[in-house]
Each structure stands twice: as C-alpha cells, then as structure tokens.
C-alpha cells in the first residue's frame, strides 16, 4: 500500500525523467547540430540562470505575468459570477466574448504596441486579456450551477443580493472558478512568452527567440526546459492551493480538464 502511494507521488517525476531519456536517445540517433542532447541542454540551464542579466529578464517576465494574472482574476471572477446569476448580464456579454475568444490575444500585441509602446504596459495588458476569458467562462458556468434552494434560503434569512453573491455563490462556484484560474495560469505563461517574442525587448521569450535567431541551440533548448519547468511548477503550486481551498468539494480530477 505504501509502495503504491509512493509510486503515485513519484509518477510525474518518473514521467519527466522518461521524457528526458527519450529526448536523449532521439538526439543521439538524429545526431544533428541543431538538436542538442538532453544532457547538453540541461548543462546550459545553470549558465542562463547564473547570468545576472537573463535572471533579471526572467524575473521581469514573471512580474508582468503576476500583475496581468492578478488583475484579470480580480475583474473576471465578479463579472463571471454576475453573468451566471443574471440572464440579462449574460446575454449582454456572451456574444461579445464569443467574438473575442478565437482571436489570439498575443496577436493583438502589434496593435497595442502602436498605442502603448513596447513597455511593460502593453505586455501586461495582453496577458490580462489572455487570462480573463477562461476565468470569466468558468466563473459563469460555476455560478450558473449553484443550487437555487441555497439562494432561496439565504434570501429568506434576509441576505441582500450582494451578500448572497459573496457568501453563497462565490464559495459554491469556487471549484469551477479555480479550474478557470488554473487554465488562466498556463495561458498567462503562453501569452507572456509570445508577447515577448513579438516585442523583442526583454523577458524570457526574448532570450528564447533571440537564441533561435542566433543559432545558439543549447540556449534554445535550455530555455525550453526553464519555461516548461515554470509551467509545471506553477501548475503544481496552484494545485496545492486549490486542494486546500476547496477541500470540502468532491475529490476532483488530478489533471486539469479544460486547457484553452
């Protein structure tokens, strides 16, 4: 029993190692200059993290991501909850969101750059746009599924509409909201990389694509490892928080369900 638990815990780690081994073997088999081995790429990781300038760049990326993600969550959750509870609000915003959804947010970057410049503001705004849609959508779905009886009881006990939204709808929709936030977190990372790739000025995406242009393949693959590790690490950290916040809800899937 203990062994099985341990195996479960270690499974993702084993998968990581397995993938790296596959990479190593493939690289040795192909034996191409532009495709370094896994070991070669991992060796380049400390060089990048040790370099002060790239470290500052990566941290600046993370800062933009945190700000964009934070504001997006703060605005999207109330909006989504309102949409879920009010039919008028829902039909007001739904078509607009449907039109915006298939537009790649990072593709707005060139236009936003024209207006706001290449600085932090444009990149944070793009991240904000990318994160908000899934969070709105999941909050909406979560709020729609709240049991009416609970709201009636709350109304009978004299809670005002705002109080009901905060004390009944928000906790009841929390599992779904957090699913949306988790999707948003990965999207924030993706948008961060692409926005920096388009506005080549600073950040992790800049390092990655500059290395590609200059043919420093070790750096390219090392950056892929770093960005990938950021994604997996952030996701795992978020999962911890989620499990703690919604401990009362039914045990959910340990893998994210929607990845938009």
């Amino acid at each position: 029993m203990m062994g099985r638990m341990l195996l479960r815990r270690l499974a993702p780690l084993l998968a990581c190692i397995g993938l790296l081994v596959v990479w190593q073997v493939a690289a040795l088999a192909i034996n191409n200059d532009s495709f370094p081995t896994a070991i070669g790429a991992i060796r380049a990781v400390p060089d990048i993290l040790g370099d002060k300038e790239s470290l500052i760049n990566i941290l600046a990326s993370l800062r933009r991501m945190a700000i964009g993600f934070g504001t997006a969550v703060a605005i999207s959750i109330p909006l989504g909850l309102l949409m879920g509870r009010s039919r008028v609000v829902a039909s007001f915003f739904n078509p607009l969101l449907m039109v915006i959804y298939p537009v790649p947010k990072a593709a707005l970057m060139p236009i936003i750059m024209l207006w706001l410049g290449v600085g932090d503001l444009s990149k944070t705004l793009v991240i904000f746009l990318g994160v908000s849609l899934p969070v709105i959508y999941h909050s909406f779905e979560g709020a729609k599924a709240v049991e009416e009886k609970m709201l009636w009881s709350a109304a009978a006990m004299g809670l005002s509409a705002t109080q009901r939204l905060v004390r009944i709808v928000l906790p009841a929709a929390l599992p779904e909201i957090l699913t949306g936030c988790r999707t948003g977190l990965v999207l924030a990372l993706i948008t961060m990389i692409t926005s920096e790739m388009i506005a080549r000025q600073s950040g992790a995406g800049n390092i990655l694509f500059n290395a590609l242009d200059m043919g420093q393949y070790d750096t390219v693959f090392a950056m892929i490892i770093i960005v990938g590790a950021m994604g997996i690490g952030l996701d795992a950290a978020f999962e911890r928080i989620r499990a703690r916040l919604v401990r009362w809800s039914e045990p959910q899937f340990d893998i994210p369900l929607s990845f938009s």
Partner: protein, 254 residues
Amino acid sequence: MSRAATSDILIGLIPIVLSIAVWQGIVSFGYAPPTLLPPPTLVFARLAQQLMTDTFQQDILATLFRLFAGFAIAVVLGIGIGLAAAASPTINALVRPIVRVLAPLPKVALYPALLLLLGFGHGSKITLVAADALFPILLSTYYGASTVEQKLVWSALAAGTPRHQTLFKVVLPAAMPSILTGCRIGLVISCIVVFLAEMITSTDGLGHVLVTAARTFQAVDMFVPLITISLLGLILNGALEALRSYLLRGFPEA
C-alpha cells in the same frame, strides 16, 4: 425562435454595436490619429476588398489547411488515447503521469525546437497545433469515458455484446457530449495557435499578413487578419455546434 431568445440576441448585439460606435466616435472626434486607429468603415471596406483578392484567399486557405490538419490529428489521437486510458488501467498508469507533465507545459515554447526539427514548412506548424489542441480533447474524452454509467456497460454485456465492442457501442456514444466539449475548446485553441505559429515564421497565412502589416505600420491591414480569424472562429464554432446537435440528437438536453 422564441421571443426570449430573440431578445437575448438583441441584448447581445448591444455591446458589439456599442464598441464599434465608440471606435468610430474616437476616430471621428479626433482622439486618435487614423494612422493608429483607422475608422471601422475603412477597416471593413478593406476587409471586403481583401476577401476578393487572390493572395488573401490563398492566405486564408493556408491557415485553414494547417488548422484542420493539426486539429484532425489532435482529435484522432486525443479520442484514441483518452478511450484507451479509460478502458485499460495499464495504459492509464502510463499515460496519466505523462499527461500531468505535458499538459501544463506552454507548447509555444516548444515551437523553436519544432522549427529546428521539422523545418519552416507546414510540418512544424501542424505539429504545434496538434500538440496544443490534443490535451483538452484527450482529457475530456478520458473524463467522459471514465464517468460512463457502469450499468450501461453491464446491460450491453448482458444483451450479448462482445466485451471489446462495448467500447465503441456504449462508451464512445455515452462519452460524446464530453468529447465534443473538448473538441470545441481544442478548436478555439487551434485557431489561436495556428495564427501565432504563422506570426513567428511563415511566408503565407493570416498570421503572416498581420506581421507584414505590422512591419510596415499599416494599421488598417493589421485589423483585417484579426477580424478574419475571429470570423473563422465563429463560423467553425457554429459548424461544430451544428455537428453537436446532430450527433447528440438522442440525448436529453446536453
């Protein structure tokens, strides 16, 4: 169509009309120079004009080809692996940790690697689209298939269906609503990713049109591909919705 639905559509049109009006207003009252924000009339006229030209149609076709190729691969692999993982504990144990690691990985970061391995042609873009669209489809297939009511499978077995056929005759149809939800998410992602891939490196496609316009600071031409991809997304979404209501015609209100 019922009256409530009609009024819903009308309410929904308000913000779209309003934002276009505000857009026009900003330009008309001179808050933004037309070089930065061209008036909507100009943009839509340009869109109509571009849609008639051969080169733009070629770009749309190139984008659509990559989108569909990648999406199709993702659908086949996603449903296949998802069903297999739900049906067999061994495959499940193997697939689950790999998915757990790969799903939160930002796939765009893999694009440089794909470029180096597969070259600058269709291959790398299609692979990126497939890699990004795969996981939502795989996960929702797995979710749908593993929550199929056991009674349905038992009844089928009792009625004499061979065990290996229950997968296609019972589990797959029962998981269909969930699978289609995954496909819908995957489709939107495909739209987004194909555009991004074309923006990074390409010689044709809608993303390339945007980048070329951005390099020459043609604001009007920057809006055209963006509106086009949004329209494409809406049309594809509508088509998938129609397919959904056809496939799920026997389901109670799915």
